[in-house]
């Protein structure tokens, strides 16, 4: 796959809007061809994309190769699951002597879950960002695994088997999310908001510092920038958004188990970002569709589809590193022309 010249910003924006429109039209279309089951699958893709976009912020823009991102997805998911569990059982959650009532209300639970994920990311980030390179990869993986084992050991919440929920979260007391299509649109809306917000973020002062640190950390420090705290902030923010993806995932499946933060899911998120094109924010959305599609197709061919997916992955890394986004839309934005002009 040779990289092509980048498309003009206007064409690129047009393509992105077209993509959004296509996603918006997907449910009625699927209903029309009588395949409503695929709405569920597409919802799962959107949720995966949301987690991958959050990883792209720290990976593609911040240069932080986190191999533990699924941990934050899992934390968000478990906050949702545990609160719902207590709401159902009617007993409060005892935390350090504090009684937290069970809850099912999205307007409270979702921000709360994001906050808890952010705190987890902050703590892991503080430790992991003391080093870089290979260390960072292994340390994020290890801490994610620690959370995995921790949740496995929590017998009160099903241990290995996880928790089954009795329905999705309520929104302002209504069961809005129970409807398959509504839930799809909620996921799509949140994904669009996050992509747009991140788009702004990466061009802000904060975003430029983050990208500068990826390109040349030493230079940034010599300029007077304490890069670690910006990286940590980005890592925490990405953790919060990953937590939101976890919330959605648990609502979608009405089930949560430690598998959600299994290390292979962290690997999968990396694959999605690379497949789609890292440092593009939109690429990971493409990547999510392609990976899930590929899995769906391969799984139809053979039960042992990973024996094919694995080598495909190796080939992609060796020969198609620009990712789908680079292939379709052109290479990642470098200097962005002269940095002026419309975008």
């Amino acid at each position: 796959m040779a990289e092509r010249a980048p498309l003009s910003p206007r064409v690129r924006l047009g393509l992105h809007l077209l993509g959004l429109l296509a996603l918006a039209l997907l449910p009625p279309l699927l209903t029309l061809i009588d395949e409503p089951f695929y709405v569920t699958l597409a919802t799962r893709v959107l949720i995966l994309a949301l987690a991958a976009v959050s990883l792209d912020l720290i990976l593609g823009y911040g240069g932080m190769v986190s191999f533990g991102h699924a941990a934050f997805v899992g934390v968000g998911g478990y906050v949702t699951g545990i609160l719902a569990h207590h709401a159902f059982m009617g007993d409060p959650l005892m935390l350090f002597g504090l009684a937290v009532p069970g809850m099912n209300e999205a307007l409270i639970v979702w921000p709360l879950a994001m906050a808890v994920s952010a705190v987890a990311a902050l703590l892991i980030g503080v430790l992991s960002l003391r080093t870089g390179g290979i260390h960072f990869i292994m340390i994020t993986l290890a801490f994610a695994q620690m959370l995995y084992y921790l949740l496995v050991s929590l017998q009160a919440y099903g241990g290995d088997d996880g928790l089954t929920l009795w329905g999705r979260n309520t929104v302002a007391g209504t069961d809005l999310l129970a409807d398959r299509e509504t839930f799809y649109y909620v996921c799509l809306g949140l994904l669009a908001v996050v992509v747009l917000a991140f788009r702004r973020l990466v061009d802000s002062r904060f975003g430029l510092v983050l990208q500068g640190a990826r390109q040349n950390e030493r230079r940034m420090r010599a300029l007077g920038v304490p890069v670690t705290r910006y990286r940590l902030a980005a890592f925490t923010l990405a953790g919060a958004v990953a937590g939101l993806a976890g919330v959605l995932s648990v609502n979608q499946a009405e089930f949560v188990s430690p598998t959600l933060l299994h290390w292979t899911h962290s690997g999968e998120l990396l694959v999605v970002v690379i497949l789609g094109g890292m440092g593009t924010l939109v690429g990971p959305v493409l990547g999510a569709f392609v990976l899930m599609g590929l899995e769906e197709v391969l799984a139809g061919v053979t039960e042992h589809w990973r024996v094919i997916l694995g080598p495909v992955l190796v080939l992609v890394v060796l020969y198609a590193r620009a990712g789908l986004h680079g292939w379709v839309i052109g290479p990642r934005r470098h200097a962005d022309a002269d940095g002026e002009g419309a975008s």
């Binding site: 802000s204 002062r205 040349n216 230079r219 300029l223 007077g224 920038v225 890069v227 200097a335 002026e340």
Partner: protein
């Protein structure tokens, strides 16, 4: 106001790498506004000294003061914000960003924290205007929109200088700013530095003696991590120890360049 003391005081700086003593109880000062050349043969410990002043290397012993304030224990970025600007011996720019982005980031670094998440920094006149002015000053205005990684070597060196200057430093640490530049570029760079003379103090590491004698107010000669001599150019040129250890051979060897 207190009497104008030295801007930079290096006192007893020592650093060893395994068996190699790269800095051996170095002491010297840089006065405000002065161009102070740090010279010495390859491996004399010039880069090591600069790296310790900038804060990248932790000295084994010794003190560094900037304007009377001890900075020995501050991290790199704090020292930069206190007024140390830096260009590296091996060029160091942000390759994916445009030339203008590079300098604008330098301006931004000195304009307070960067926890500003929404406004597009590439359209922020408070960053772009000074950056553009700086590019004009070093002669890079024409390539402002190019990716820094695509610049020629000479252009990158100029960009480094522009980034260092953008923070309005009080002391520029220049590690061989002309290394690897062609004759013309190099002459242009000397001109630029000459133009800066008096407005900002410089600690200039340089091998080319013509450049050193053209720019320096004072010279410190290093050899084997030790200060061999320090003083004004005439005195250093006449110093028998320097002639014997350094200028003697190097002067001859360097004649063609």
């Amino acid at each position: 106001m207190r009497a104008p003391g030295p801007l930079l005081e290096v006192e007893g700086l020592s650093k060893a790498f395994g068996g190699v003593t790269a800095s051996d109880a170095l002491s010297f000062t840089v006065m405000p506004g002065e161009v102070h050349a740090l010279i010495g043969p390859n491996g004399a410990g010039k880069t090591t000294a600069v790296a310790q002043i900038a804060g990248e290397l932790k000295p084994d012993d010794g003190r560094i003061r900037l304007d009377g304030r001890e900075i020995s224990h501050l991290p790199v970025h704090r020292r930069a914000l206190l007024g140390l600007g830096r260009s590296f011996q091996i060029t160091s720019v942000l390759p994916d960003f445009s030339v203008l982005d590079n300098v604008a980031l330098a301006v931004q670094a000195h304009a307070g924290h960067s926890f500003r998440l929404i406004r597009n920094a590439r359209r922020d006149a408070r960053l772009r205007d000074p950056a553009r002015a700086m590019l004009t000053r070093v002669g890079l205005a024409a390539v402002a929109g190019r990716a820094a990684g695509a610049l020629s070597h000479g252009e990158k060196r100029k960009l480094e200088l522009a980034m260092a200057l953008a923070g309005h430093p009080r002391l520029l640490l220049l590690d061989e700013p002309m290394a690897g530049m062609g004759g013309e570029d190099s002459a242009r760079m000397v001109e630029v530095l000459q133009g800066l003379k008096g407005t900002v103090a410089m600690l200039l590491v340089e091998h080319d003696m013509d450049v050193v004698f053209a720019l320096a107010d004072r010279i410190t000669v290093l050899d084997g991590g030790r200060v061999l001599a320090t003083g004004d150019p005439e005195a250093v040129r006449a110093d028998p120890a320097v002639i014997a250890a350094y200028l003697g051979e190097e002067g001859v060897a360097c004649q063609p360049c």
